[in-house]
């Protein structure tokens, strides 16, 4: 398998993981934890933990165990595949099996209390994994696991049991150890390292050892020396595996070390012997073969047999008896079907005395239900709690004894031998020997059945095949070949020791004694009790090995002819008490003359008996019996002796019968009480499991309580609160150290009445309250002042206790002097804070500015009603809302708020514009934002002031300034134009200057009128009054017309026209004479094209008028005023009676107010942006 180019670890990796079944019950948690703690992260075992769990409760095991190991711990689910380096846990309420490496959960078929989940799993583990399995039995009561470990062991697996002293409950480990299947009994903590070591050895060391045949030879010799069993003919591979297992269990590496162990430790040989026995057997193994056997052998054997006939059957290597019982069942079945009722004797033999003991019990585990066909199971077995008991009719057909097929004398006169799967462990020499034994033992025509995998050579001489397929053969009539059994080997240590003793006290030289013994002494043998210890030279002549179970007993080994004589001799010796007796016997010789023997027996001081055989000289002449000696066959009969013996025999028989009956009776009683005990035991076990669980719980509770107690004690010591515990009678029970501030407590004061102990406070009042609290059962609190002036608060509570009649009170004293002071200060501060809070609130409510506060996420913390005018929300509705989303107008402030939040500096004077939510009017606001620190958080406050009016006022002011500038410049332009005009006039400078002055004055008057009317309009009456009436008097001017208001432009133009006309009239017209007068009439007429303002100037009583030749500046001015400025008509009538002037101007041109204070021709210069 391992080639040279393949690295060794790879080969190790390929090895399937060792699957370790671990069983535990009570105390298992602790054992599991210890076991898992020794696991290493690189271990590749698969651990499967099987625990008795309460099906009613969820298991905490996975959780508790996963803390102890790095390997994954998982609760098993049905169908889970077992992987290396994993830990699996059985869930509650189900049984666990394994098949092909897959875990199966199956329901229990036994009622609660009788379940054996560990056995069940181990058995399936053994069947599934064989040599790859390991079983560990840990703490627990009862014996679950003990059958399972045997199965594992038989399958070649490894078995560990917890050292009973190491286990919390040693029932299960002890039961496992008692089966003898445990390879190792050791503390839990050491199991994993041994397992690991064995695993490594398996994968690493075996090839190295394999070649060492010499080592195996030495081991086998040692085992033979110690146990008398010779395994030298066993196959090396089988032996080596078992030896390796022992070596790893012992932790030995070198073969030499193991040999030393074998020599030094007497028990090791027997341990290895047990391990070498391979006890795999079952009922009806290969049913076909047994059916064939029934047809070809059993039926022919039974045919024609009567009650006096005997059929003898031998099952060598029967192990725990299943195959022998199988044959018994087959025979019983066949006999029930036929009339033949012969005596059936089945002999089951094995060298493993423990297996034989188990076979004799006739008790088998539940597992056999799968092996024995159901009808037979019902008919031949009795179901019990632990499994099945064979019924007596089958049990009595089989006799079991310890016997070695290859060493001990065989049975004889047999009709059938079945020997299955035993020879495969033997080498060819041993196999050949076995075949000779079978040939010897079987009668001619007897049947031999071998195992299906057996390849035993049938050389054709001794046997003829009946069914090759099922390995059934028949002994031919050919004579048996000689048997050459190996010499019986017994440990000789005892005899050697005695020999040494003898040597020291021999009264002659040793060579003399040796010569005497070898040449001159009669044949002799030495007995210890009834067993032969030493056979002297020549004595073997008188001995023969008998058929049946071999024994060292002298009576069994001596020639049958001599046996009665020896019996009488020994009986007589022990009855008489004499040290020496002898007896004469005639020994019929085989096929010739007989000889006379004198057999002597002597009791030595050491208790051994020496038997001597002396051949008497005359064999043919029988001599009368000597005194005290008898002979066989021809022994003279001593009637008294015989009748004495017969009486004794009768007595003994009677006694035996009585004893047997009594035994049977008491046996029945014992059986029934045993069953009762068993059921009680089961109940007790259940109760015990539960008690142990409860115990665990109580222990953890106790631990908690201890911790709590420690906490409480520490608290009492460290607390700064004075607390006093009193019982019902006001006696001191306990107190905290702080309590000594107020009381003169000493430790010994516990139990004293508190009123008798000095205190700094009014103890009378305290106890009074305490008693009140006890009576009412409700806590109370009161205040008092200590004798040194401290303000104290005392809190009294009833002491609640589970115990009746206990109780009392507990009170604590707090010095509240500081607290009272702080409370007063706090109250003052609170009042102040409340006032300033109210002020702030008032400010918020009444301030004309909108105010608010937002948090670091710009959500409103505060808002006043004025803010609502902007956003359209109620003041409270703002709270919690994001600032940026509450009104589009405010959204543009978000970056500013953030900036203030980030920098912590106020930002003042931001101007924003937007509609007022109340009425939709456009407004402008100035916004001041400032940081506020509020309970540790940076928040932002803001004030929004409506500056719309302010800005409008500012804009008005600017416009007015501009208008003023315009008018002043216009006026100056007018004046300059008049002055320049005057400069062009020719004539008297004085007159020109006066005219100019009058014109400027008239202009100024008109302006004064307009300014008085806010430059909007003037009453025509006022204008005429100013230009005419004040200058020329009311009696010379006739006025007629409705009240009319002229606009500014018309005022200027008409005013100028009236000035020029009146000036001209005063100079050349009606007003130049005292009797002349002027009539001014005006009206509004509608000439069809629209309303027209008409003013008629008529002069009368003046000098005769002529149209002037040249038009002066006055005329030009009048005309351009009316036709140009006002776009009207002017008709001048130069009539002899006097001048007539008619002015016509469109009504609206003359009267419509042309100066609109709102209209600004230079709108772009508006100082308010965005409007």
């Amino acid at each position: 398998m391992s080639s040279t180019d393949k690295p060794v670890p790879a080969a190790a990796d390929l090895a399937p993981p060792v699957i370790v079944g671990v069983g535990a019950s009570a105390g298992g948690l602790e054992a599991f934890q210890t076991l898992l703690a020794t696991l290493r992260p690189n271990d590749d075992f698969a651990l499967i933990l099987v625990q008795h769990l309460d099906p009613e409760h969820d298991s905490l095991l996975p959780e508790l165990l996963s803390k102890r190991t790095q390997l994954p711990v998982q609760a098993i689910t049905d169908g889970m595949v077992v992987k290396a380096a994993n830990i699996y846990l059985i869930p509650p309420g189900v049984a666990l099996e394994i098949a092909d490496g897959v875990l199966r959960l199956v329901p229990f078929d036994a009622p609660r209390g009788q379940r054996r989940p560990i056995d069940l799993f181990f058995e399936s583990l053994a069947a599934d994994q064989g040599m790859n399995a390991a079983a560990i039995v840990l703490s627990g009561t009862g014996s679950d696991g003990s059958q399972g470990v045997r199965a594992v062991k038989e399958a070649g697996g490894l078995v560990f049991a917890q050292l009973p002293q190491d286990a919390k409950y040693d029932g299960m480990p002890r039961a496992a150890v008692a089966t003898g299947a445990a390879d190792m009994v050791l503390p839990v903590g050491e199991m994993m390292s041994v397992l690991r070591d064995f695993h490594n050895r398996q994968t690493g060391l075996v090839p190295a050892l394999e070649s060492d045949a010499e080592f195996i030879g030495k081991v086998v010799r040692n085992v033979r020396y110690r146990t008398g069993h010779d395994f030298s003919g066993y196959k090396n591979g089988t032996l080596l595996r078992r030896i390796t297992l022992r070596m790893s269990v012992l932790g030995l590496n070198a073969p030499a070390d193991y040999l030393r162990e074998l020599v030094q430790n007497r028990d090791e040989a027997s341990r290895l012997f047990r391990d070498l026995l391979i006890n795999v057997t079952s009922f009806f193994r290969d049913l076909d073969s047994f059916e064939t056997l029934r047809d070809v052998a059993i039926r022919p054997l039974l045919e024609g047999k009567g009650p006096d006939d005997e059929i003898r059957i031998w099952v060598p290597g029967c192990s725990s008896g299943q195959e022998a019982y199988t044959l018994a069942i087959l025979f019983a079945e066949e006999m029930a079907r036929s009339d033949a009722k012969p005596q059936i004797s089945i002999f089951g033999t094995d060298i493993d005395d423990e297996a034989i003991a188990q076979a004799r019990r006739g008790h088998f585990a539940n597992a056999i239900a799968g092996e024995v066909p159901q009808p037979w199971l019902d008919r031949y077995f009795t179901a019990t709690r632990q499994g099945y008991d064979l019924k007596a009719e089958i049990r009595d057909m089989v006799r079991f004894s310890v016997q070695s097929l290859i060493k001990d004398p065989p049975f004889s006169k047999l009709d059938l031998v079945t020997c299955r799967n035993l020879l495969i462990y033997f080498d060819s020499d041993l196999q050949d020997l076995s075949m000779r034994v079978f040939q010897y033992a079987l009668v001619p025509g007897g049947f031999l059945m071998l195992g299906s995998s057996e390849a035993a050579p049938i050389d054709g001489e001794g046997f003829s095949p009946i069914s090759s397929e099922h390995r059934i053969y028949r002994r031919t009539a050919a004579p048996a070949r000689p048997l050459d059994l190996p010499r019986s080997f017994r440990p000789a240590r005892d005899s050697r020791r005695r020999k040494d003793d003898a040597e020291t006290s021999l009264p002659m030289p040793l060579p003399v004694a040796q010569a005497l013994l070898t040449r001159h002494a009669p044949p002799y043998m030495v007995l210890r009790e009834d067993d032969i210890e030493l056979v002297g030279p020549g004595a073997e002549r008188f001995m023969r090995v008998q058929t049946g179970k071999p024994s060292l007993g002298a009576r069994a080994l001596i020639l049958p002819e001599l046996e009665p004589a020896l019996k009488r001799l020994l009986t007589g010796l022990s009855l008489s008490g004499a040290p020496y007796r002898k007896i004469e016997v005639e020994l019929p010789a085989h096929g010739g003359t007989g000889e006379r023997l004198e057999i002597g027996a002597e009791v030595l001081p050491t208790g051994e008996r020496v038997i001597t055989f002396v051949t008497l000289a005359d064999a043919r002449a029988p001599r009368p019996a000597a005194d005290g000696s008898d002979g066989e066959a021809r022994i003279s009969v001593d009637e008294t002796y015989v009748s004495q013996l017969e009486d004794e025999l009768e007595n003994a028989r009677h006694t035996i019968r009585t004893t047997v009956e009594e035994l049977e009776t008491s046996n029945e009683e014992l059986k029934s009480s045993n069953e009762e005990m068993m059921s009680m035991n089961e109940e007790l076990q259940s109760a015990n499991e539960e008690l142990s669980t409860t115990n665990d719980e109580l222990q953890s509770k106790l631990k908690e309580l201890a911790e709590l107690n420690a906490d409480l004690a520490n608290f009492m010591e460290s607390t700064q609160i004075a607390t006093v515990f009193l019982d019902r009678d006001m006696r001191l029970r306990n107190f905290t150290p702080e309590a000594t501030t107020y009381f003169r407590f000493a430790e010994q004061d516990r139990g004293r009445d508190i009123r008798d102990i000095g205190a700094k406070l009014d103890i009378g009042r305290v106890t009074e309250v305490c008693q009140g609290v006890m009576t009412r059962g409700t806590p109370a609190e009161f205040e008092l002042t200590s004798t040194d002036g401290a303000d104290l608060s005392v809190r009294v509570a009833p002491y609640r206790s589970e115990g009746r009649g206990q109780g009392g009170v507990v009170f604590s004293i707090f010095d509240v002097s500081k607290v009272s002071r702080y409370a007063r200060e706090a109250a003052t501060a609170l009042d102040e804070a409340r006032e300033s809070g109210a002020e702030v609130e008032g400010l918020y409510r009444t301030s004309p500015a909108a105010m608010g506060l937002v948090d670091e996420n710009l959500r409103f913390l505060r808002a006043n009603p004025q803010l609502g005018a902007i956003t359209g929300l109620k003041a409270d509705s703002h709270l919690g809302q994001p600032f940026g989303e509450i009104a589009p107008t405010l959204a543009e402030l978000v970056p500013i708020l953030r900036q203030v939040l980030d920098r912590g500096e106020a930002k003042l004077g931001t101007v924003i514009h937007g509609p007022l939510a109340e009425d939709g009017s456009r407004r402008s606001w100035q916004v001041d934002v400032y940081p506020v620190r509020q309970s540790g958080h940076e928040v932002v406050g803001f004030n929004i002031t409506d500056v719309t009016q302010l800005l409008e006022l500012e804009a008005d002011l600017r416009r007015i300034m501009r208008e003023l500038q315009h008018r002043v410049k216009n006026m100056l332009s007018n004046v300059i134009a008049l002055v320049k005009r005057a400069g062009r006039e020719k004539g008297d400078p004085k007159q020109i200057f006066d005219t100019l002055t009058a014109r400027i004055l008239a202009l100024a008057n008109t302006h004064r009128l307009l300014t008085a009317e806010n430059w909007s309009s003037t009453a025509l009456q006022d204008l005429i009054d100013l230009e005419l009436i004040r200058v020329y008097g009311r009696d010379r001017v006739e006025l007629r017309g409705p009240a009319i208001r002229l606009n500014a432009r018309a005022t200027l133009a008409i005013g100028m026209v009236l000035h020029e006309l009146s000036t001209n009239a005063a100079k050349y017209g009606a007003l130049s004479r005292p009797e002349g007068n002027v009539s001014v009439r005006w009206s509004k007429i509608d000439d069809g094209d629209g309303e027209v303002f008409v003013l008629r100037w008529t002069e009368r009583g003046g000098p005769e008028v002529r149209e002037p030749e040249r038009r002066g500046f006055g005329s030009q001015l009048v005309e351009s005023m009316i036709t140009g400025s006002l776009g009207g008509n002017l008709r001048m009538g130069w009539e002899p009676d006097g001048l007539t002037a008619v002015i016509e101007v469109a009504w609206d041109v003359a009267t419509e107010v042309d100066y609109d204070s709102e209209a600004d021709p230079l709108g772009h210069a508006d100082p308010v942006p965005g409007r």
Binding site: Q965, A977, R1049, Q1116, S1120, S1125, D1156, L1162
Partner: protein, 134 residues
Amino acid sequence: MTAKRILSDMRILYLEDEAIIALETTEILRDIGFEDVRVAYSLDGVEKALQGDLPDVALLDINLGHGRTSFELGRSLVGSGVTVVYATGYSASSLPGDLNAMVIEKPLSAAMLEDALRTALGAEDERRVTGAAH
């Protein structure tokens, strides 16, 4: 063509709503050399004054009362290739920047008016010369 043009050959539109100023300024324009002076006292009167003729140059008062200004007329004239000079009582700095015309502040003196008109016309001629050279 030389930059010097004979003002008497030119037609000038003069818009002024103040009759006294209009009378005097008309005299000054004649003194400067304009023979064909078309005076209008309001925007409505401009068409009547021009009688279908396009002036060579226009002197426009900006504020015409009733909130009206002469900017629209001026822009239209500039678009027609007329040299425009605005006269205003406001300070020149508070006027729109797209007028493409010279602005003089009231009150006007004869020298100032002549200088402004000649400068405006000269600049206009130069612009025309360079435009023709292309």
